[in-house]
C-alpha cells in the first residue's frame, strides 16, 4: 500500500470536510486563472491586432488612444478626420505623394456606420492585400471586393456567425457607430466575401468599399455652395475625408522619419499603435490585473490556511493511528509525509478543479468580453506564457503551469504544522491510549 493511498484514504474518510476544503482552494485558483486568461487574451489580441502597420495617421487634434482603439479595435470613435488630399501624399503613384517613397502600403479607413451593432469599416481592397500588411486575410467564402465594386462588402467571421450573412446576401448599413439611435442608409451592399476567423476585433466588423461609403447620404464633405451630382460615378476628391490611414513603411527607419515629419506638420498626427497599446496595457490594465491577482492570491492563501486547519483538526483524533503506523515500522518522516501528501491531495486536487472552473468561468463571461472588448475568448484559451530554451528548442509554457508547483509549495507549507504534529507523536504513550 503506497503512502499516497494511505493519504487518500484519510482524505476520503472525512469526505465533507475534504470537499469543502478543495472547493475553497478551487475558487481561489479559478479566480487567478480567469484573471490571467482574460488579461492575457486581451493583451495578446491587442498586440496581435496592432501588428502589421507602423503607424495610424489621424486628425491633428484627436486623441491618440481613440484613434488606435477606434481604428484597430472598433471601440469608441475618432471624430477628427484628415483630408483625402493628405492621404494621397502617401501614394507612390501620385505626384503629390511626397511620403510615397517611404511607404509600402497606405490604407484609408472611414468609420461612422454600423450594421446591426457591428462596426462598418469603409476601406480599399488594399486592406485585404497580404503584401501590404503582415495580416493575411483568408476568406472562408468568396473574395475581397474589387476597386470598382462600389457597393460590395466583406464580413468578419463573427459577424457572419451571428447574423448568418453569406456571399450573395445584401446589407444596408446604418448611420452612426452604435446601433442605438442610428438610421438606416438607403444603399444596399452585396456581400462578396466572408473572412476566416482572425482572433482579432476584425472578426466583428463589416468591410465595405470606401467608394460606396462616400456615395451614401451624409458621408460627403459638403461645404456651403458645393453641389453633388447624382450621376457622379465617384465622389470628387475634394468632398472626401478619411477617419484614419493605416501606414506600413518600407523599413523602420523610414517609419521613424515619417512619423516625425507628420507630427511636425499641422494637418495630421501619426501614432504608433504598438506604443499606444503598450501604454494602455501597462498604465490602465496592468494595475487592475495586479489588483485582481492580489485578491485572488489572498483567496488562495485563505484556502491554504483552510487546508492546514482541516488537517490539523484531525490530528488529535489520529495520534493513535499514527502511533500504530510507527509501531509497524513507519519512521517519523514517513508519517509526516503521509500528512504532507494529504495536504497535496487537497491543495493540488482543489487547484486542478480550480483551473477547470477558471476556464469554465472564462467561457461563461466570453460573450460579455467579446461584446465589450471585441476580444474572442473561449474555454481552451490559456494564460500567456513564457519561454524556456532547451538546447536549440524554445519551449513555450503558460503561466498556468506555474500554478501547479506553486500549489505544491503552498501544500507543503500548509501541511507542515500538522505534519510536525504527526512527526512528534509519542508512540508508546499513544499506543497505550484507548483507540
Amino acid at each position: 500500500m503506497s503512502l499516497w493511498k494511505i493519504a487518500w484514504r484519510s482524505v476520503a474518510d472525512r469526505r465533507l470536510s475534504s470537499i469543502l476544503t478543495c472547493l475553497s482552494m478551487a475558487l481561489g485558483i479559478a479566480l487567478v486563472v480567469a484573471v490571467l486568461v482574460v488579461y492575457g487574451v486581451i493583451q495578446d489580441t491587442f498586440m496581435r491586432s496592432s501588428g502589421g502597420y507602423h503607424m495610424i495617421v489621424g486628425g491633428k487634434n484627436g486623441s491618440k488612444l481613440e484613434l488606435v482603439l477606434s481604428t484597430y479595435y472598433h471601440i469608441g470613435v475618432a471624430d477628427e478626420p484628415v483630408s483625402w488630399e493628405f492621404y494621397t501624399r502617401f501614394l507612390r503613384s501620385e505626384s503629390s505623394g511626397d511620403f510615397g517613397d517611404y511607404v509600402q502600403t497606405a490604407v484609408p479607413i472611414c468609420l461612422g456606420d454600423n450594421y446591426k451593432g457591428f462596426r462598418v469599416v469603409a476601406t480599399t481592397p488594399a486592406f485585404f492585400d497580404a503584401e501590404g500588411s503582415v495580416k493575411i486575410y483568408r476568406f472562408a467564402e468568396g473574395r475581397a471586393f474589387e476597386d470598382d465594386d462600389f457597393f460590395a462588402a466583406v464580413v468578419g467571421s463573427a459577424v457572419a456567425k451571428e447574423t448568418g450573412l453569406k456571399v450573395g446576401d445584401t446589407i444596408r448599413p446604418s448611420h452612426g457607430v452604435e446601433e442605438e439611435g442610428s438610421h438606416e442608409h438607403a444603399n444596399d451592399f452585396k456581400v462578396v466575401g466572408v473572412l476566416d476567423p482572425t482572433e482579432t476585433a476584425n472578426d466583428r466588423a463589416v468591410y465595405i468599399n470606401i467608394e460606396g461609403f462616400y456615395l451614401m447620404e451624409g458621408h460627403a464633405k459638403v461645404k456651403e455652395g458645393d453641389k453633388l451630382s447624382d450621376k457622379q460615378r465617384r465622389l470628387a476628391e475634394r468632398h472626401r475625408e478619411v477617419t484614419a490611414i493605416l501606414v506600413r513603411c518600407t523599413n523602420d527607419a523610414s517609419a521613424k522619419w515619417l512619423m516625425v515629419s507628420i507630427n511636425e506638420g499641422v494637418e495630421a498626427q501619426a501614432v504608433s499603435p504598438v506604443f499606444v497599446i503598450t501604454q494602455l496595457l501597462s498604465k490602465f490594465l496592468a494595475p487592475v490585473r495586479w489588483l485582481m491577482l492580489g485578491v485572488a492570491a489572498l483567496t488562495v492563501l485563505v484556502a491554504g490556511i483552510g487546508v492546514m486547519v482541516s488537517i490539523y483538526n484531525t490530528m488529535a483524533g489520529r495520534r493513535h493511528e499514527i502511533a500504530v503506523m510507527r509501531a509497524l515500522g513507519a519512521s517519523r518522516q514517513t508519517v509526516m509525509m503521509v500528512v504532507l501528501f494529504e495536504s497535496l491531495l487537497l491543495s493540488v486536487g482543489g487547484g486542478l478543479l480550480g483551473i477547470l472552473l477558471g476556464h469554465s468561468l472564462v467561457a461563461v463571461i466570453a460573450p460579455w468580453v467579446e461584446m465589450k472588448a471585441s476580444v474572442n475568448i473561449g474555454f481552451f484559451d490559456t494564460a500567456p506564457g513564457f519561454t524556456v530554451p532547451i538546447g536549440s528548442y524554445v519551449l513555450k509554457l503558460s503561466w498556468e503551469l506555474v500554478l501547479i508547483p506553486g500549489l505544491i509549495v503552498l501544500a507543503s507549507i500548509a501541511g507542515y504544522i500538522p505534519g510536525m504534529t504527526a512527526y512528534r507523536t509519542d508512540v508508546a504513550k499513544s499506543l497505550s491510549a484507548t483507540p
Binding site: 503512502l3 500504530v324 509501531a327 509497524l328 515500522g329 513507519a330 519512521s331 508508546a428
Partner: protein
C-alpha cells in the same frame, strides 16, 4: 535471537528525580523458541516490549535482536529494523478502523523494505481463518476476528521475532485458546521466535518456558506500563 544485558530504563519524575522502571541483568531467548513472560499489570511488560522493538530506547545496556545491537541504531534504523524483523500483536489489536482486514495486513507491509505482497496477505488471512472476511472492516468483525487480523498483520513481513502483548486480554474466554493456538502454530510454521507477555496462568501454562518478569526486573519501584 534475543539477548538483553544490563538493560535499564528510567523515567524522569516531576520533581526531577529518576524512576527506574526496568533493570534487567540478562534475558535471553533462543531462535525459534516460544516463551511466555508472566508479569502483573504495571510491572514494565509493555516498556520491555517497546524497548525490544525499538519504539523506546534503553538508557543503558545492550539489546541484541537477531544479532543486531538495536540500541545503537539511529531512530530511522530502529524503525526499519522493526518493520523488517519484528512483528507486534497488541492487546487492543490496534487495527485501523477505516481499512479492511486485507488493507490492515497490507499496511503492515507498507513500511518494510520489500514490496507489498498481496498474495501473502491473503494467504495469511486465509491461514487465520478469515478468507471470507478480507474486505470487512474491523467494526464489522468480532474481537476474536480482529485479533486474528492483528496476528496476520504481525506476520506479514516474515519477522524473526514476534512480540505479543497480552494478546488474549481483550478476547472472550471462548476464543482465548484459539488465539494462543493460532499464534503458536503460525510462529512454528513461519519459524518465528515468540515472546508472549501475559498475566494469565491459563495461557502461560501452555508454554514449555515461562519466565516471570518480577524475577527478571530488578527495578525496585514499579511503574505503569
Amino acid at each position: 535471537m534475543l539477548l538483553l544485558e544490563q538493560v535499564k530504563k528510567f523515567y524522569r519524575e516531576p520533581n526531577g528525580g529518576l524512576l527506574t522502571v526496568l533493570d534487567i541483568e540478562r534475558f535471553k531467548v533462543g531462535a525459534g523458541e516460544q516463551l511466555a513472560l508472566v508479569g502483573r499489570s504495571g510491572g514494565g511488560k509493555s516498556t520491555l516490549l517497546h524497548i525490544i522493538s525499538g519504539i523506546l530506547t534503553a538508557d543503558s545496556g545492550s539489546i541484541r535482536v537477531d544479532g543486531v545491537e538495536i540500541n545503537r541504531l539511529s531512530e530511522v534504523g530502529r524503525d526499519r529494523f522493526r518493520a523488517d524483523k519484528i512483528g507486534y500483536v497488541f492487546q487492543t489489536f490496534n487495527l485501523l478502523p477505516a481499512y479492511s482486514a486485507l488493507e490492515n495486513v497490507l499496511l503492515g507491509m507498507t513500511f518494510a523494505t520489500g514490496r507489498s505482497d498481496r498474495e501473502r496477505a491473503k494467504h495469511l488471512l486465509d491461514r487465520v481463518g478469515l478468507a471470507t472476511r478480507m474486505s470487512h472492516k474491523p467494526t464489522q468483525m468480532s474481537v476474536g476476528e480482529q485479533q486474528r487480523v492483528s496476528v496476520a498483520r504481525a506476520l506479514a513481513n516474515r519477522p524473526k521475532l514476534l512480540l505479543a502483548d497480552e494478546p488474549t486480554a481483550n478476547v472472550d474466554p471462548a476464543h482465548q485458546q484459539q488465539i494462543v493456538d493460532l499464534i503458536r502454530t503460525t510462529c512454528d510454521e513461519e519459524k518465528v521466535t515468540l515472546l508472549l507477555v501475559t498475566h494469565s496462568p491459563e495461557v502461560s501454562s501452555q508454554f514449555e518456558r515461562v519466565d516471570r518478569l518480577d524475577e527478571l526486573n530488578q527495578a525496585t519501584i514499579s511503574a505503569t506500563g
